[in-house]
Symmetry: C2
C-alpha cells in the first residue's frame, strides 16, 4: 500500500502548502504586503515559523508563488470580462479589459501592490519567474486587442520605427507566432496601451490622485475612451 500512504502524505503536504498560501493572502488583504510574516502565518496555523521552511525554502519564494497566484487571478478576470463580447467589438473589448483591470485593482489594492509595486521588504523578482510569465500573458491579451484594431489603426505605424529586434527574443517569437499579421509597431502599441492603463490605476492605488479628485473612475473612463478613440475605434453608444 505504499502508493496510497504516499499519496496520503503528499496530499497532506499539498494541503498544508495551500493553507500557507491562503493564510498569507488573507494576511496581505488585511494588513498589506508587509503583514506577510512567516511568524504570523505560523501563529495562525498553530505552528512555528521554522516549520514553513519545510514547504518554501525562503519567504521570497513564498511571495513569488503568491505573486503568481494573484497575477493569474487578475489576468483571468480581465480575460473573463472580454470573453462574452463579440470578437469584432474591439472597442468594447478594450474598454471591458480596462474596466476589469481597474475594478480588480481597486478591489485588491494589496494584490496590486504585490504585483506592481515593491512586493515586500527587500524582495527581488526572479529573472524568468512567474511574474514575467503572467506579464507576458497580460501583454498577449492586450496584443490580441491591438491586433483586432490594427487594420483600422495602421496610420499609427509610420512614425513608430519599432523593429522586432527591439523586443526580447522569447517575447517576440511568442507574439509573432500568435499574431503573424501584426508588425513590430503593433506590439509596441500593445505595451503602450498597457502602460496607459497602468498609469492612472497605479497613481490611484498609491493615493496620489486623492488630493486631486474624488472620482478617479471618471478620470480613468475618460482616459480609456480617449485611448480607444486613438486606436481608430468608436465605442458602441
Amino acid at each position: 500500500m505504499g502508493d496510497q500512504t504516499q499519496n496520503r502524505r503528499a496530499r497532506l503536504r499539498a494541503e498544508t502548502a495551500q493553507e500557507i498560501k491562503t493564510i498569507a493572502l488573507r494576511l496581505m488583504s488585511e494588513g498589506g504586503p508587509d503583514a506577510i510574516s512567516l511568524r504570523a502565518i505560523a501563529r495562525e496555523m498553530g505552528m512555528t515559523a521554522g516549520a514553513i521552511y519545510g514547504y518554501y525554502p525562503t519567504r521570497d519564494d513564498l511571495v513569488t508563488t503568491l505573486i503568481s497566484d494573484v497575477y493569474t487571478s487578475l489576468v483571468d478576470q480581465a480575460e473573463a470580462a472580454v470573453a462574452p463580447l463579440p470578437v469584432d467589438d474591439v472597442a468594447g473589448r478594450t474598454l471591458a479589459w480596462a474596466q476589469a483591470f481597474r475594478a480588480w485593482s481597486v478591489a485588491n489594492p494589496e494584490g496590486f501592490r504585490l504585483i506592481y509595486g515593491d512586493p515586500v521588504t527587500g524582495y527581488q523578482p526572479p529573472e524568468g519567474g512567474p511574474a514575467a510569465e503572467a506579464a507576458q500573458r497580460a501583454c498577449a491579451g492586450l496584443t490580441s486587442l491591438v491586433a483586432g484594431a490594427w487594420p483600422r489603426a495602421e496610420n499609427l505605424e509610420a512614425a513608430d520605427g519599432h523593429l522586432w529586434s527591439d523586443f526580447q527574443p522569447a517575447f517576440a517569437a511568442d507574439i509573432r507566432d500568435r499574431f503573424p499579421e501584426l508588425p513590430p509597431a503593433g506590439v509596441a502599441l500593445a505595451i503602450r496601451v498597457w502602460g496607459r492603463m497602468h498609469g492612472l490605476v497605479a497613481l490611484e492605488i498609491y493615493g496620489h490622485l486623492r488630493p486631486l479628485t474624488h472620482d478617479p473612475a471618471k478620470l480613468y473612463r475618460a482616459e480609456m475612451l480617449d485611448l480607444v478613440r486613438s486606436l481608430g475605434l468608436t465605442p458602441h453608444a
Copy 2:
C-alpha cells in the same frame, strides 16, 4: 550672548539633521528604500539609533521629509528642462518634461520607488503632507502645458463631461486661480497626461518591461509622441 550660542546650537542641530537626511538618501540609493534603517544611519554617524529620535520623532517622519526632498528635486528637474524652451513650443515643452521625468526616474529608481511606490515597510503617507504638495506642484506644471495646448485641443472637451465638483476643492481652487481659461476637462486632461507619463515609467522601474523589450526609452518616446499628437500638436522636426 544668548543669541549667538543659541544660534550655534541651532546650527549644529540643523547640520546633524541634514547629515541624517544625507546618509539616509545615500543608504537608499545603495540598498533601496528598505535600507533606510535608523540603526544603519546611526552606525554611519557613530551614534546610537535612539539619538535620531532627538531630530525626527519617528522613522516615518524622516521618510516623509526624504520624500519631500526627493520629490522636489524631481519636479525641479522637470521644470528646469522645460524652462529654456519658448513658451509657444508646447509640444517641445511637453516632450522635454516627459523625457526629464523618465530620465530622472531611471537615474534614481530608488527615489521613484520612494515617491510613487510603497516607500517603506508599513509607511502611510500623511494626508496633507509634503507629498501632496509636491504632487500638486507636478500636476500644476503639467496643467500649464495642457493649458498651453488647450486652444488647439478643445475638440477633446466634448465627450469628457468633467465638472469642477469632480476635483478636490483646494486643488480646483488653486488651478482655477492659476489658469482661469481652462475648463474642468482641461484639468482632467492634465491628470491623464500625468498618468500616461507615469504608466510606462512605473512599469519600467519595477522591471515589468524587461521581459518584453530592451529599449524602454524607444517605447516611451513613441508613447510621448503619440501623446503630443493627441493634444493636437506637431513636434518640431
